[in-house]
C-alpha cells in the first residue's frame, strides 16, 4: 500500500537530509506507529506519502502509484485515497459538525444525495450522532478530533495518515480516539500514525517504525515506544 525505496529528502542543498535513504513497506490493513523525536523526519515521511514533497532520491509508491512520476494534475486523485488527521484538528470554525464533514465530499464533487446518506453514517461511526448542528467551538477537544477523523474517513480512503492525533488531548480522551482509529483499521484501512505518545504505543502493541536523524533505526512488529524499554 505504501512503499519507500531508499527514499531521501534534502530540503537545502548541502544540508543534512531530513530523510536519509529510508526503505519501508506498509501492507494493506496495517496499523503502524511512526515514532521519533522532533526533527527525526516523521513529518517529511508523511509529506512524501501525501506528495506534498517529492523525494530528492529513491522512490515512493502509494496506493499503486509511483509518486516520483505522478504529474501535478493527478495529485488530487492520490489525495482522495488518503485521509489525513492532524494534531490541531483543522476544522472550519464557521461550519457545523455536519457541514465540516460534508465539505470534504462537496469539494470532490459528490452528489447531494450521496452526501446526505454518507455523512450521518460517518458521524454515527465516530460517536457524534445528535451533535450535527454544533459548531467546533461548542465541542470538546476529543469531539473535535472525532469530527476531523470523520472528515478524513468519510470518503472511505484505503489509507489514513494521522499526525499526532492525540497530541492536544488528555490521556482519557486519547484512549477513545485510539479505539476509533482501531475500529477504522479493522475495516481494512491502512493507518499510519506519527506520535510522541509512549503510553498509547506501548498499550496498542502494533508495528512501530522509529526514525532518528532522518534514518530508519527500528521497524518492529508489536513494538513499544522506546528502544530502551524493549
Amino acid at each position: 500500500m505504501i512503499r519507500l525505496d531508499n527514499a531521501t529528502k534534502v530540503y537545502k542543498r548541502g544540508a543534512r537530509p531530513a530523510l536519509d535513504s529510508v526503505s519501508v513497506e506498509i501492507e494493506r490493513g496495517d496499523f503502524v506507529f511512526l515514532v521519533g523525536s522532533s526533527g527525526s523526519g516523521k513529518s517529511t515521511f508523511l509529506k512524501l506519502i501525501l506528495r506534498e514533497e517529492r523525494p530528492t532520491g529513491g522512490d515512493v509508491y502509494v496506493a499503486g502509484r509511483h509518486l516520483n512520476k505522478l504529474s501535478a494534475w493527478r495529485v488530487p486523485h492520490l489525495r482522495r485515497e488518503i485521509g489525513a488527521v492532524f494534531q490541531d484538528f483543522r476544522l472550519l470554525p464557521n461550519k457545523t459538525v455536519y457541514q465540516n464533514v460534508a465539505f470534504a465530499l462537496q469539494v470532490i464533487g459528490k452528489s447531494r444525495h450521496h452526501i446526505q446518506s454518507t455523512v450521518p453514517e460517518m458521524l454515527d461511526l465516530v460517536g457524534l450522532s445528535g451533535k450535527e448542528k454544533r459548531f467546533p467551538h461548542e465541542l470538546s477537544g476529543g469531539e473535535q478530533q472525532r469530527v476531523a477523523i470523520a472528515r478524513a474517513f468519510v470518503n472511505h480512503p484505503p489509507i489514513l495518515l494521522c499526525d499526532e492525533p492525540t497530541g492536544n488531548l488528555d490521556p482519557g480522551t486519547s484512549v477513545g480516539i485510539m479505539r476509533l482509529l482501531d475500529r477504522i483499521n479493522r475495516t481494512g484501512t491502512t493507518v499510519l500514525m506519527a506520535t510522541h505518545d509512549d503510553e498509547i504505543v506501548d498499550q496498542m502493541r502494533k508495528r512501530v517504525i522509529e526514525l532518528r536523524g532522518g534514518e530508519l533505526v527500528r521497524d518492529q512488529d508489536r513494538g513499544v515506544y522506546g528502544l530502551e524499554r524493549v
Partner: protein, 303 residues
C-alpha cells in the same frame, strides 16, 4: 453540486470582502469609462472626417490682375492657361483622383463675397479684384498632396489651398483628447489590476483554512482556484457594466439630447456606438481579472 459550491463560495467571498470588492468595481468602472470615452472620441473623429472631408474641396486660386506673388508676375491668368490647368485636372494622371472640377469666375466669387458680407466691405471692391478659382472635389480627400503638387507650379496658378486645413486644428485637439483619455485609462487600468490582485490575495489568505482542507481531501486545483478567479471577474464585470451604463447615459443625454439639438451642423455618434464599444469593455474587464488571478493564485493556492 460543484457549481452550487463554487457560486456559494464566490458569494461568501464577496460578502466577506465587501469593501475590497466595491473598490474593484469602482476602479474598473472609472478606468473603463476612460477607455470607452477614448474609443468614442475616436469614433466621433472618424465620423466628422467622413462627413466634413466629403464636403470640402481643394481650391486652386488663379492669378488676379495685381498680385504680389512672384508666380503671378505676368498678370492675370489667361484663358489659355485656364484651359491648360483644367486639362491637367481632368485628362492627365490626376483624373483618377479627381471627382469633379468646377470653375468659379470673378463674378461668382464677388457674388458669394457680397452674400456673406454683412459689414459692407464689398462696396470697396469690384469683381475685377476678385480671384477666379478651380474648385476640385477629390474622390479620395487623403490624396490632397498629390493634386496640390501637380497644380501648384502651373502658369496662372496663384495658390492651392486645402480646405481641410481649417479642420485640422480641431482634429488635432480631439486626437490629443483621445491620447489623454487613453493615458488616464492606462493608469487606471494598472490601478484596477493591482487592486484585483490585492483583493484575490486577501480573499485567498482569509480562506487559507478552506483551501488547505480542499487540497488535503483531494479537490482539484481548478475547483480551489475558481471561486477566487470568479470573485475578481464578477467585481470587474460589474465595473464594466457600470462604465457601459455611464457611457450610454452620457451619450444619450449630453450628445443625443443636448448637443444634437443645439449644435446641429455636426454629425454625432449615438448610443448605438456605445453598444459597439461595450463588448470590448467587458472583454478588457474579464481579461484584467484573468491576468490578476494568474499572477496571484499560483502563489497562494498551490496544489
Amino acid at each position: 453540486m460543484r457549481l452550487r459550491f463554487i457560486f456559494g463560495e464566490v458569494f461568501n467571498g464577496l460578502r466577506r470582502n465587501t469593501t475590497m470588492a466595491l473598490s474593484v468595481v469602482l476602479v474598473t468602472f472609472v478606468s473603463l469609462m476612460f477607455v470607452g470615452a477614448a474609443a468614442l472620441t475616436q469614433m466621433q473623429i472618424d465620423q466628422l472626417k467622413d462627413d466634413w472631408y466629403g464636403k470640402v474641396e481643394i481650391a486652386i486660386f488663379l492669378c488676379p490682375e495685381s498680385s504680389r506673388n512672384e508666380r503671378c508676375a505676368e498678370g492675370a491668368v489667361t484663358a489659355a492657361q485656364e484651359d491648360d490647368i483644367r486639362a491637367v485636372l481632368e485628362d492627365g494622371a490626376l483624373s483618377d483622383l479627381v471627382q469633379k472640377v468646377y470653375y468659379e469666375s470673378r463674378e461668382e466669387a464677388y457674388g458669394k463675397f457680397v452674400a456673406n458680407d454683412d459689414e459692407g466691405i464689398w462696396s470697396y471692391l469690384t469683381p475685377e479684384q476678385m480671384q477666379p478659382s478651380f474648385r476640385v472635389k477629390l474622390s479620395d480627400p487623403e490624396q490632397y498632396q498629390v493634386v496640390a503638387d501637380a497644380t501648384e507650379g502651373l502658369p496662372g496658378v496663384d495658390v492651392v489651398r486645402d480646405q481641410r486645413e481649417i479642420f485640422s486644428e480641431l482634429f488635432r485637439f480631439l486626437n490629443a483628447a483621445t491620447v489623454i483619455a487613453a493615458a488616464l485609462a492606462g493608469v487606471m487600468l494598472i490601478a484596477a489590476m493591482l487592486l484585483i490582485t490585492t483583493t484575490i490575495r486577501l480573499s485567498a489568505l482569509s480562506r487559507r483554512r478552506e483551501t488547505q482542507i480542499m487540497r488535503m481531501v483531494g479537490s482539484s486545483r481548478s475547483l480551489i482556484q475558481m471561486p477566487f478567479m470568479l470573485e475578481g471577474a464578477v467585481a470587474a464585470t460589474a465595473g464594466a457594466v457600470l462604465a457601459i451604463g455611464g457611457l450610454f447615459f452620457g451619450v444619450r443625454y449630453l450628445i443625443e439630447d443636448w448637443l444634437k439639438s443645439s449644435v446641429t451642423w455636426v454629425q454625432y455618434i449615438g448610443t448605438s456606438d456605445v453598444w459597439n464599444v461595450a463588448p470590448w469593455l467587458l472583454v478588457i474587464a474579464v481579461g484584467l481579472a484573468a491576468v490578476a488571478s494568474i499572477v496571484t493564485l499560483g502563489r497562494y493556492t498551490r496544489a
